[in-house]
């Protein structure tokens, strides 16, 4: 039991916030401390507006009172400092000036880092990789041309497949394929070449060759495949030229029927 406990009890009692009566322990404590009894009497008198105080409290009591008041003020300040903020308070705190300054500083550093990372650095290895890729492409073309010159039709078919994978950009490879299309003894190989051209972009210089081959072709199956190739993927000019030239020759009945079916003559 301390002096303050009894004083707090007294204040609460006077304030009618405490219904606890004076305990025996408290009574004994007050009896044992006469200065406390004087202080309690002063508080009681101070609390009551009337009658006014009849005599001035003792100096020691006043000193203790003011000390107590000062301590209480100090405690209040500490409580305010340690107060737990709610989430709303936290959010509001973000928008205070120091916090904003910190955020902008962080954003500036981040943006600077990003911009530094985006700067293109010329890698000396890129040019050598490009050269290597070009070499591989030309080697692939060489391998394809070698396969296209085999005596076995099945190996030539493999060569056509390989040519497609190697890409038909190499003019030597394209010329070899055109020669195969014109002269190969196997219809299967010639049809495979036509299918290979159908899957890649036909250049204008090849279109002229294909038109001539189509007009002069004796095998109706190959001729139909060539017509299909040019009328579906050829340029407008090529289609027009082919149409004009086909009209000047005697076509196989099946070829004529096919051209009518695909409405080739009305395409232009």
């Amino acid at each position: 039991m301390k002096h303050q406990d009894v004083i707090n009890w007294k204040i609460n009692q006077l304030n009618q916030t405490c219904e606890q009566p004076l305990t025996a322990e408290m009574n004994d404590y007050i009896t044992a401390h006469p200065e406390l009894a004087e202080e309690l009497s002063l508080i009681e008198q101070f609390w009551q507006t009337e009658p006014p105080l009849s005599e001035r409290p003792a100096a020691s009591v006043r000193t203790h009172f003011y000390t107590m008041l000062a301590d209480e003020k100090q405690n209040l300040k500490l409580k305010q400092k340690n107060r737990i903020n709610t989430w709303f308070d936290t959010v509001i705190d973000w928008f205070t000036l120091p916090r904003l300054a910190q955020s902008f500083a962080l954003l500036a550093v981040f943006t600077l880092g990003l911009s530094i990372n985006d700067v293109e650095v010329i890698d000396p290895q890129d040019s050598s990789i490009a050269a290597l890729q070009q070499e591989v492409a030309s080697l692939s073309s060489l391998v394809a041309m070698s396969m296209l010159n085999r005596s076995s039709a099945s190996e030539r078919l493999s060569g056509v497949s390989f040519s497609l994978k190697a890409g038909l950009a190499d003019p030597n490879l394209t010329s070899t394929l055109l020669a195969l299309l014109e002269n190969d003894g196997s219809t299967a190989v010639r049809l495979a070449v036509i299918n290979a051209f159908a899957q890649s972009k036909i250049e204008s210089r090849i279109e002229d060759n294909l038109i001539s081959l189509t007009v002069n072709e004796k095998n109706p199956l190959v001729q139909i495949a060539l017509c299909r190739l040019l009328f579906s993927t050829g340029s407008q000019n090529a289609q027009s030229t082919l149409n004009s030239r086909l009209n000047t020759i005697n076509l196989n009945q099946d070829v004529s029927q096919y051209l009518l079916q695909i409405n080739a003559k009305n395409r232009i």
Partner: protein, 286 residues
Amino acid sequence: MKKVTLVLLLSLVPVFTIAAAQQEKQYSLELSEPEKTMRLNVELRNGNVIVEGYQGRTVEIMAKINPLSESELKEVGSHRREKPHINQKVKKSREKSGLKSINNISHSLEIQEYNNRVSINSERSSNQIDLIVKVPMSAQVEVSIYRGNEVRVNNIKGPIEIETWKGDIYANNISGPIVAETHQYAIEVVFSEFSDKSPSSLTTYGGDIDVTMPKKAAAKINVQNYQGEILSGLDSEFVATETIKRNKKGSKQEIIVGGQMTADINGGGQHITLTTYSGDILLRKP
């Protein structure tokens, strides 16, 4: 290398000078290197060819030489030039009454073996030659008949190439790859295995294509025909190939659907392409 040249000089055998007589001859060739793969090349103008694979290490040839009748001869055309060569002296016309025509069957067939390559050639058009050739099963086989009839190949595990104009093509119990072509007739192939070594292709203009694929074959089947049907007993579905071409600037986009129908069996693998203009395509499983 041992070179064996065997040329049939039938004119040296008197019995064969009798006109219109069918002749049957059998020959056996030993290979230069029997432990290695051999290559058979048959080129005929007229005739039928049967090639059988077997477990032996020699090449067995049975040839039947049948002179063509007058009408058949007219159909296939004489080997004589219709117009004489510019440097050839014009022949004086001579009296032929009382003389009978002797069918010239000399140099009808030439068989050669060199460094494990066996070639059987017949260039004259006045005879029909029916061949039965037995070769080791691992042989590479090439058969070309200009105006002949059918070609049959059985029990061959090596690559096969067949070209004929007026006959059916039958291949049974083969592994491939096979590249076969005929004009108005059918192609029938039964695979016992499917080789992934090289692509296969079967092409006919007016005939049907009938293919039986082995159960475990992994293959990509491409089919293309213009007027016939496509009939399949396989479990895989056929889809139309499409080509999507886009202009670089994005102003024109074109999608072309068609060209071929494709199916992957057992996950796909080596290609086999079947092409016919007006025939049907039939795909079977064993």
